[in-house]
């Protein structure tokens, strides 16, 4: 026994008891495992989309489906433009979240408040964009079980395309919504000096992990639905 401890002193320090071997707080580690399980849920959705797409002869062209823009005059088509704005909104809100976590590590309350407010605004802006897009697609006749779009080669399409689109972006949108709610709660707790009293801003870090995960999922959803 003593030989193993002398062989790797670092490891012995880590696993010798008295401290967390992962050098991380319990809640943070559990947040990581929750996000891992959530990644499998999203992965299952996206992979089933891929399987169905591979098993079908034709598929709608995303550039013909997602080509509208708010306030654009009728007949003006702008594929990819609206969704790229949504993507940048989410990236920027992710950056402000990192800045909030960073400020929390320095016990900088005003920095946390400022960046949390920006993150919440970014999340609400993203949700508004998604609500507009859903509403627009619905007005075109697209919904679960309804697909007005033809396949790219001009043949009749099935409802698989719209079913997957609304299910997956809806599930992601629900994550964004719950992320915004969590961020608002964190903001209120910060304003009430809860974290100042505790002496650390670990809760902000955990909310940050969740928010970055939402951004991470959008990277995949955006690429798979709009670009591929």
């Amino acid at each position: 026994m003593s030989t193993t401890t002398t062989a790797s002193p670092n490891e012995a320090k880590l696993w010798g008891g008295g401290k967390s071997p992962f050098n991380s707080e319990y809640g943070k580690v559990m947040m990581w495992y929750f996000l891992m399980s959530d990644a499998f849920t999203f992965g299952a959705f996206l992979i089933s989309y891929g399987t169905v797409r591979f098993s079908t002869n034709g598929w709608p062209n995303s550039n013909e489906v997602f080509r509208s823009f708010p306030f654009a005059p009728e007949g003006v088509h702008a594929p990819l433009v609206f969704v790229s704005i949504m993507t940048f909104i989410l990236i920027i809100s992710s950056v402000t979240m990192v800045l909030a976590v960073h400020a929390g590590k320095n016990m900088d309350k005003s920095g946390v408040v400022r960046n949390m407010i920006w993150t919440i605004i970014g999340g609400l802006a993203f949700l508004s964009c998604q609500a507009w897009e859903w509403n627009h697609l619905h007005s075109e006749g697209a919904w679960w079980g309804m697909n007005p779009f033809l396949n790219a080669d001009g043949t009749a399409s099935s409802t698989n395309f719209t079913n997957f689109f609304f299910t997956i972006t809806g599930f992601h949108g629900f994550h964004v919504f719950s992320g915004v709610v969590i961020n608002i709660i964190m903001l209120i707790m910060t304003l009430l000096n809860k974290f100042e009293q505790r002496g650390h801003y670990l809760m902000i870090e955990k909310a940050g992990l969740y928010w970055h995960f939402v951004d991470l999922v959008w990277v995949f959803v955006f690429t798979i639905f709009y670009l591929l």
Partner: protein, 156 residues
């Protein structure tokens, strides 16, 4: 005391530089993805399209790496913690390969043995008029009512 203070300041500077760097990388990768997406709109060559899609997937994975490693700070965690998260995610390699293969094989089987399925993919619907969504919807539902071929080819 002043020594630890400057230490903290240097650490802060480093962290901010990292955030800035990752933000720029994510933005640039997204812009490249969008440029490739726009380029692909009128593309007819199947091979080139496949190559562009492959590039987009690589950029997507790179973006995912930067978000997880730096924004979520996983790179700065203890190695054992990283492994308990990354190793289970390795299942996705099998997951993606197996299920896409399966989908593809199912399409080939149906094209070979289901003449109705194959014929559906050759019937073109009249191209819709621009802006008339109602008309499109009507045509799309009309097509679904096309009856199966009266004399299906029998396979032995």
């Amino acid at each position: 005391m002043s020594h630890t203070h400057t230490d903290q300041e240097a650490h802060n500077k480093e962290a901010m530089a990292e955030i800035k760097k990752v933000t720029i990388i994510l933005s640039v990768f997204t812009i490249i993805e969008l440029i490739l997406g726009f380029w692909m709109i009128g593309m007819t060559s199947v091979g080139l399209k496949l190559a562009v899609k492959g590039t987009i997937v690589i950029l997507m994975m790179a973006k995912a790496f930067y978000i997880v490693a730096y924004f979520m700070h996983l790179k700065h965690e203890v190695k054992n913690l990283i492994m308990t998260i990354v190793v289970p995610l390795m299942l996705f390699v099998w997951f993606i390969a197996a299920f896409l293969w399966d989908g593809n094989s199912f399409r080939n089987l149906r094209n070979n043995y289901d003449p109705y399925f194959k014929e559906q993919a050759t019937i073109k619907v009249e191209k819709k008029e621009e802006g008339e969504h109602g008309a499109t919807k009507h045509k799309a539902t009309e097509v679904k009512e096309i009856p199966a071929p009266s004399a299906p080819v029998e396979k032995h």
